[in-house]
């Protein structure tokens, strides 16, 4: 106990460093549980609306760029790996490796965000952003839905699909945008040699956060991009 209460990172109100570390990790998990429900609200809205307007979602999804989405999924999974390796390196106290893997994670995260920007721009150019300038006409429903009344319904509802698309991916991107500076901060601390086998909670909990953001995308990708034709 005495050794761990003399570590520079130790905060007095914990009994010892290991209690402190457990609290930090557990705290992050509780936070993630909270995040699950935060995204959950949107996922529930998605599920209900997709159930009410299957056609709209199908045609809407066909205007997403599947290759880009798939590539981005790979990038993000890769970044999860580099993050896991950073935590691994921290547990072993390999300073340069921690920094290296963290920077790799930041790089991959930025690639992901960059691709996202390209995708968003496409939507803007095609007037697929909900609001006054939204044009459902080019979703190509005309050739497929014979009944004009149904088609009208689907075309209107396709705005809901894109609203959800932007809300969900936007919120996800926001989480990454918050994550990147956090990782940089952790990398800087690692560079200063603040982490080692004794203590590397910050690396670990930021890692948890990053993996969670990855998981959200694992669901977003098939749900938004790969919608099968309803029948």
């Amino acid at each position: 106990m005495s050794s761990s209460t003399h570590h520079p990172a130790y905060v007095h109100h914990f009994e010892n460093l290991s209690e402190q570390k457990e609290a930090a990790t557990f705290g992050m998990w509780v936070f993630i549980a909270q995040e699950v429900l935060f995204f959950g609200g949107l996922f529930a809205a998605y599920a209900i609306y997709r159930n009410l307007h299957p056609e709209a979602f199908y045609f809407g999804s066909h205007h997403l760029n599947i290759p880009l989405g798939a590539a981005n999924t790979a990038v993000l999974i890769f970044s999860s790996l580099t993050m896991a390796l950073a935590v691994h390196a921290a547990a072993l106290g390999k300073r340069q490796q921690i920094v290296g893997w963290l920077l790799a994670t930041v790089f991959l995260g930025s690639v992901f965000l960059g691709v996202k920007v390209v995708e968003y721009k496409e939507k803007f150019d095609h007037h697929l952003v909900p609001g006054a300038s939204f044009q459902a006409g080019q979703l190509g429903m005309a050739e497929h839905i014979a009944d004009p009344v149904l088609r009208g319904k689907a075309e209107r509802a396709s705005q809901i699909y894109f609203s959800l698309y932007f809300s969900m991916t936007g919120l996800h991107a926001l989480h990454m945008i918050i994550g990147v500076p956090l990782i940089l901060w952790i990398a800087a601390r690692a560079w200063l040699g603040q982490f080692g086998p004794e203590y590397h909670s910050p690396v670990e909990i930021i890692g948890l956060y990053w993996h969670f953001v990855d998981i959200i995308w694992i669901f977003l990708f098939p749900l938004l991009y790969l919608i099968p034709k309803p029948h």
């Binding site: 761990s4 290991s18 570390k21 457990e22 990790t25 557990f26 998990w29 509780v30 993630i32 549980a33 909270q34 995040e35 699950v36 429900l37 959950g40 609200g41 996922f43 529930a44 599920a47 209900i48 159930n51 009410l52 299957p54 599947i66 798939a70 999924t73 790979a74 999974i77 890769f78 999860s80 790996l81 993050m83 896991a84 390796l85 691994h88 390196a89 547990a91 072993l92 106290g93 390999k94 490796q97 086998p197 890692g207 948890l208 993996h211 969670f212 990855d214 998981i215 694992i218 669901f219 990708f221 098939p222 749900l223 790969l226 099968p228 034709k229 309803p230 029948h231």
Partner: protein, 117 residues
């Protein structure tokens, strides 16, 4: 990149807070599994399983598997304490509640022919 023996050594010397250091090989395997999963998801979306429900089911099953892999290995839940597993589980359980009861409304609306039809 890391050699195993050192990792194991270290884990022992260390106090119980970190009961387990996952070997790098596990990480790589998980990573590969995730990549394969992604590929299958994309591939499966071009296959018509006869009914769109089946397509959805396949996509979701793969997503759940991938998420579980990340949670268990990348996030170390496999090696974590019971409380942590409880926290993970409860987040998910309450999400299920949200879905279940909301759909309980939407899917049964037509039954009596009362509201909405």
């Amino acid at each position: 990149m890391t050699d195993h023996a050192a990792a194991a050594d270290h884990a022992e010397a260390h106090e119980h807070a970190h009961p387990h250091i996952v070997p790098v090989r596990t990480y790589i395997l998980v990573f590969l599994a995730l990549m394969v999963g992604t590929a299958i998801t994309v591939g499966a979306s071009y296959v018509d399983f006869g009914h769109s429900y089946l397509n959805n089911l396949v996509a979701l099953l793969i997503a759940f598997t991938k998420a579980t892999l990340v949670v268990l290995f990348f996030m170390h839940v496999k090696y974590s304490s019971k409380v942590t597993q409880l926290a993970v589980g409860s987040g998910f359980a309450f999400l299920v509640i949200l879905f279940f009861f909301t759909f309980a409304d939407y899917l049964t609306r037509g039954w009596l022919g009362t509201p909405g039809s």
